[in-house]
């Protein structure tokens, strides 16, 4: 892991070496030049007010990219203002409605009045909370995100700068050549459409403080942890996501109870509420969620939409229907987590056990918790089983397998990807973990797994893939990158190379993937 992290900046430095000597200084300079040019352009065109927009954004992005945390104050304030305005409007509406209610129900005016009083301080409290919390979050996430983003976003930044330069250049030419045309354009009311055609600020939308303000800290933590590569495999990500969602659910439920809204719309409202949260994780749909996590989210949404208050008869313990429904959802989440990450492991190990019985030596590649569990279980039954762990490079993620085997008192072989040609000839079975099984039977696994699969095929060694059923997705690969686990790019092992997939239901050929999707209701309707 550490090696990987080191390698990232090295890569970028090598690429930048060719272009510039001092990248930060160069970037600053180009941005300054650019802003000057844009100003000049504005002056030439006589639209000083309009041109400030890109100018500001550029300046902001520049300051953000360097170090400035203070500069969040301005957009933050505007956001707060907006929120306050909204609050005020909502309060007015409420007041009106309550006044009307009071008029109608003049019999009990004393009840309405204290309610009003009660609610007001609450609203104020929530206002305060919301006002106070965002800056903290912003700072937190900034702290968390800054170190990796420096590495990560250099390329996008550069690209953005390039595009900015291009735009700027062409704009200037236009300004010189087709002067009147632009003037006409600026006077029209389609100002906003013009603004959208202006170059994007060279920062990701994720970094914008105003967009983070309403995101729950639990989700912010997840994305920050993924950025820093603290979460680097899918299992962990799914577990953390479920954990974060449960946390979010509790707080949302509490807020809901205070509002005391209709229990029948719980599902609908929750569905609306989680949308921006999920959008934050996918960077507003920029990348799709990792395959299997997408599955969990889809199932979760299905469960949420069931919460329409129609099943209140099932809730025996809870008196409040809202709370009861949320409890059911919470239990579902807990159950999903337990089924997929504890029971499924045991089931897979159980199914693999008879197959591994006569095997002389097993090979695996990279880290996967399922495979680790399976290996330990098999070694427990057959202590003479040889285990060969292959890593993309020595002392990579696969060392976790080695550590866990050593801790349990087993011996193993350890090697790296380049030595597979020799190691595979000594192995009689390959067991791989995966991050998804696609509907056409292809297996998405860690980078380098394809080479293992090809070597296994060349040496006629069976290749089994251990996968829980929730990792079966009704998709084929249409994109190379996913959100959150972006650096942990996956590679597809074609179904031709996979002997069988060991799932928690049974051992299946890869061609049975559609059947699993159907059986587990994971297919897209």
């Amino acid at each position: 892991m550490t090696k990987k992290r080191h390698s990232e900046p090295q890569k970028t430095t090598t690429t930048r070496k060719q272009s510039q000597e001092d990248p930060v200084g160069g970037l600053k300079l180009t941005l300054e030049k650019l802003s000057d040019e844009v100003k000049n352009l504005g002056l030439v065109l006589g639209i000083s007010t309009e041109t400030q927009k890109p100018d500001q954004s550029n300046a902001k992005s520049k300051e953000e990219s360097t170090s400035g945390k203070n500069d969040f104050a301005r957009p933050e304030m505007s956001q707060e203002d907006k929120q306050e305005q909204r609050k005020a409007k909502a309060a007015e509406k409420k007041a009106r409605a309550e006044a009307a209610a009071a008029k109608k129900a003049q019999n009990a005016p004393q009840v309405a009045a204290p309610k009003n009083k009660k609610e007001n301080p609450e609203a104020a409290k929530s206002d305060n909370q919301k006002d106070e919390t965002p800056p903290k979050e912003v700072i937190k996430t900034e702290k968390a995100e800054n170190p990796p983003t420096e590495n990560m976003e250099e390329e996008p930044k550069e690209k953005a700068v390039r595009s900015v330069l291009k735009h700027g250049g062409s704009g200037q030419n236009n300004g010189k050549g087709v002067h009147f045309d632009l003037n006409v354009l600026t006077k029209t009311e389609s100002e906003e459409s013009l603004a959208t055609t202006l170059p994007e600020p060279p920062v990701l939308p994720m970094e914008d403080a105003s967009s983070i303000a309403h995101i729950h800290p639990a989700f912010l933590t997840i994305s920050a942890r993924c950025e820093r590569e603290l979460v680097d495999d899918l299992e962990q990500l799914c577990k953390e996501f479920i954990g974060a969602f449960r946390e979010y659910l509790q707080e949302w439920a509490a807020a809901r109870l205070r509002e005391g809204s209709d229990p029948k719309t719980v599902g609908h409202d929750l569905d609306l509420a989680i949308r921006p949260q999920l959008a934050h994780l996918t960077q507003f749909g920029r990348w799709p969620l990792p395959y299997a996590l997408g599955n969990i989210v889809r199932q979760l949404k299905k469960e949420i939409l069931k919460m329409d208050g129609s099943r209140t008869s099932f809730f025996n313990g809870e008196k409040d229907p809202t709370m009861a429904q949320i409890q059911v959802l919470d239990e579902w989440l807990e159950d999903t987590s337990r089924t997929n990450f504890n029971l499924a492991y045991d089931a897979i190990a159980l199914h693999l056990n008879p197959k591994i019985k006569n095997v002389h030596s097993v090979m695996t590649y990279d880290w996967c918790p399922v495979v680790n569990h399976v290996l330990l279980a098999s070694l427990n039954s057959y202590p003479k089983l040889g285990v060969c762990i292959v890593d993309s490079e020595l002392n990579g993620r696969g060392i976790r397998h080695v550590n866990s085997l050593i801790e349990n008192g087993y011996r193993c072989q350890y090697t790296d990807l380049k030595s597979v040609g020799y190691a595979i000839s000594k192995s009689s079975m390959v067991v791989l973990g995966c991050s998804a099984v696609l509907s056409n039977g292809c297996v998405a696994a860690t980078k380098g797994a394809l080479q293992i699969a090809l070597a296994a095929k060349a040496f006629n060694v069976p290749l089994l893939v251990a996968s829980q059923t929730f990792k079966f997705v009704d998709k084929v690969q249409s994109y190379a990158r996913t959100a959150l686990l972006s650096r942990d790019a996956v590679e597809l092992i074609p179904s031709m190379l996979v002997t069988a997939i060991v799932t928690d239901i049974r051992i299946l050929p890869p061609s049975a993937a559609p059947a699993v999707l159907k059986a587990k209701a994971l297919d897209l309707e």
């Binding site: 090696k3 990987k4 080191h6 390698s7 090295q10 890569k11 430095t13 090598t14 060719q18 060969c388 993309s392 490079e393 020595l394 002392n395 060392i399 080695v402 050593i406 011996r411 193993c412 072989q413 350890y414 090697t415 790296d416 990807l417 380049k418 030595s419 597979v420 040609g421 020799y422 190691a423 000839s425 860690t446 980078k447 380098g448 394809l450 080479q451 293992i452 090809l454 070597a455 060349a458 790019a489 590679e491």
Partner: protein
Amino acid sequence: MESNEIESLRRSLVASFRKRDSRESSQKVALQVINYLRKVVLQEKFESLHQLIQSLHRNGRVLSAVEPNELIIINIVLMVSKLARDEAQATKGPGSLTPYDSLYTLWREIGSNEKSFNIKKIKKDLIQSIKEIITEVETSRDSIASQASELINSQDVVLVYSLKNSPTLDGFLASARRTRKYRVYNVVKSTEIDDSPDFATPIQHCDVGNKMCETTKVVLSGAAVFPDGSCLVPAGGLTIALTAQRHSVPVFVLAAFYKITPFFIPDPSALNTSCRADIPFDLANKLSGKVELIQPAFDILPSQLISLFVSNSSSLIPAHVNRLKEDYYHPQDISEF
């Protein structure tokens, strides 16, 4: 029999083999062995061709016993002994026959005349042809590199492996760079990314699968070529070649003539050497006695994965290696050695 000078020469040669901490370039090894054999031929006294060849073989066996993994020693010894036979043949004239001549020749040339030959002349001619072979070894890199412009086209994306350890590969790419504009992916360890030369884009071994889609040619450097068309390449070459085959990307193996091994190795893994694993000390300490680290130096590349061998005289398909073998080795030597 052997003079002290030969003995000391051999000692120094063996010492130079043993002293090195990593494998030297094969060209250097080849030159060292040829020079040693040249001195053997010069110093020792022979009465007949048989003695000369026996002496060469004896010296070769001693050297290859010292370095059993170095196939080049055997190759060079057999090559020199073939030269000796050729010289003898030339002195004898065209009339003499050997059991390995073609049936047609045997049928046509009835009645060989047993000419006595002059061993001194053979020796002199042998020294001359050894000198020629030295020049051939020395120029082998250049002649391989000169074929680069035929094999690499403009806009190609070439994936190379173990560029750091192979001056031949480096020369090949440099030669192609002079006339062609192409991109290079250099497969390296993550720790060596900074050391990668400027003209190449460094990628890690696990990225090979992804990058193979863009690659149009794979160039590997061979360590030994077997008569069946398979070859030894640095460890990791096998998975690269397998990936290339999956993506229908041609694989070229650069191997000079002295890397063509004249006989089949039934179990090439037996002569596979291990190299040192570079892991941190504390990890090594933790793993010691519990974990076996597998670090072979070479992979065996079966012939069906190779599109073309680039040798110094020509480029040839794996099936033709056996034919080329006969240019350099005498069948009697192969069976006797």
